[in-house]
């Protein structure tokens, strides 16, 4: 299968296969590709390592073009190097939270687990937020077990859809993999990992009936998770605009001229 990059409406792939293909590009001998390390204002200030590569191709994704062309972006960092860069960013911006973001952090399992172990030893970081789409955690519960014992780890699982057809249409991943993020949620709960669930419920992307079904589905797993759901809003980042256009949506119609700041 050709490596999927930006998707057009109707394209689909096996996200586990894409995860493995992506890992062949972005993981090397325990190292992983990153594009940058710095702190941002989200979560009230957090040191962030931006990783390259993902196993989904959401048309609304905000990240830069390293998601679509991982060969062309980033440099390889060992877990030690990544840890040092994250801690340096935390010190410089005087924050005690850290995360890796941008791409999908659960790719390159060996690298991630080494990094998390190293973070456990560093006093500068009190909380490490692991943001994931839940695909690989849902596919292999042993991966969830691996992070369950780590005291500083906090997971944020981001759901993309409330039904299989919408999952396939928005992410490019075949509908048969729709359940994986929900399995991840269940596994995180079963292993008493500290986490919350987010979902792209922006009404311009997700119809209200689907949003309701997603919340109900979460409530079937655990009502607290549904009540504490983080509802995401789609913002007009450069990558988002290009991906939308490629997908077949008009970003001007989607966001409006006011939303794009062009009025």
């Amino acid at each position: 299968m050709a490596y999927p990059r930006m998707i057009k409406r109707g394209e689909r792939f096996d996200p586990i296969d894409v995860a493995r293909q992506t890992e062949r590009i972005v993981c090397r001998d325990g190292a992983r590709k990153y594009t940058a390390f710095y702190a941002t204002g989200v979560y009230g200030g957090i040191a962030t390592g931006y990783v390259v590569g993902c196993c989904l191709r959401c048309f609304f994704c905000w990240t830069d073009f390293s998601r679509d062309f991982p060969e062309a972006y980033g440099k390889y960092y060992t877990a030690e190097e990544a840890c040092e860069n994250i801690v340096r960013a935390a010190r410089r911006w005087k924050v005690s939270k850290a995360r890796i973001s941008g791409g999908e952090p659960t790719l390159c399992r060996k690298h991630l687990l080494e990094l998390l172990e190293l973070i456990e030893e560093r006093d500068e970081v009190k909380l490490f937020i692991l943001e994931t789409n839940g695909i690989l955690f849902g596919a292999d519960e042993s991966y969830v077990k691996d992070v369950a014992g780590l005291k500083k780890v906090y997971v944020r699982v981001s759901l993309k859809a409330g039904e299989p057809g919408a999952f396939e249409a928005r992410t490019g991943a075949s509908r048969e993999f729709f359940e994986l993020p929900f399995r991840a949620v269940k596994a995180l709960l079963d292993h008493n990992v500290r986490f919350h669930v987010a979902a792209m419920t922006d009404p311009r992307i997700m119809p209200s009936e689907e949003r309701r079904r997603l919340i109900e589905r979460l409530a079937e797993i655990d009502e607290f998770l549904a009540a504490n759901l983080e509802e995401e809003v789609c913002d007009p980042y450069e990558g988002t605009l290009v991906r939308m256009q490629f997908y077949g949506l008009n970003p001007i119609e989607f966001f409006g001229r006011e939303g794009l700041g062009t009025t």
Binding site: Y43, H196, E230
Partner: protein, 89 residues
Amino acid sequence: MALRDAIKALLELTELEGEDVALKSLCSAFGIEVPRELMGLEDLPPRVALAIAYADRELRPLLRKVASEVLREKLARSPMGRPLGVKIK
């Protein structure tokens, strides 16, 4: 304010956002006293603080009970403000 009321207020306040402001700042802005049970988590975003509290086996039953109430109200609201008639177990 009782713990139950504080949790309910926080779950409602963080329905859309709640990642970028600390629990103590949100509580201060809305006149909510940070519950004793959430002390130590007040510098975290409220949603994260609540999720961490939920991992505490002692706090879990209360949080689940309040969440159930909040959820009923949340699902009763359609985008047009009309009840959807959804039943939650």
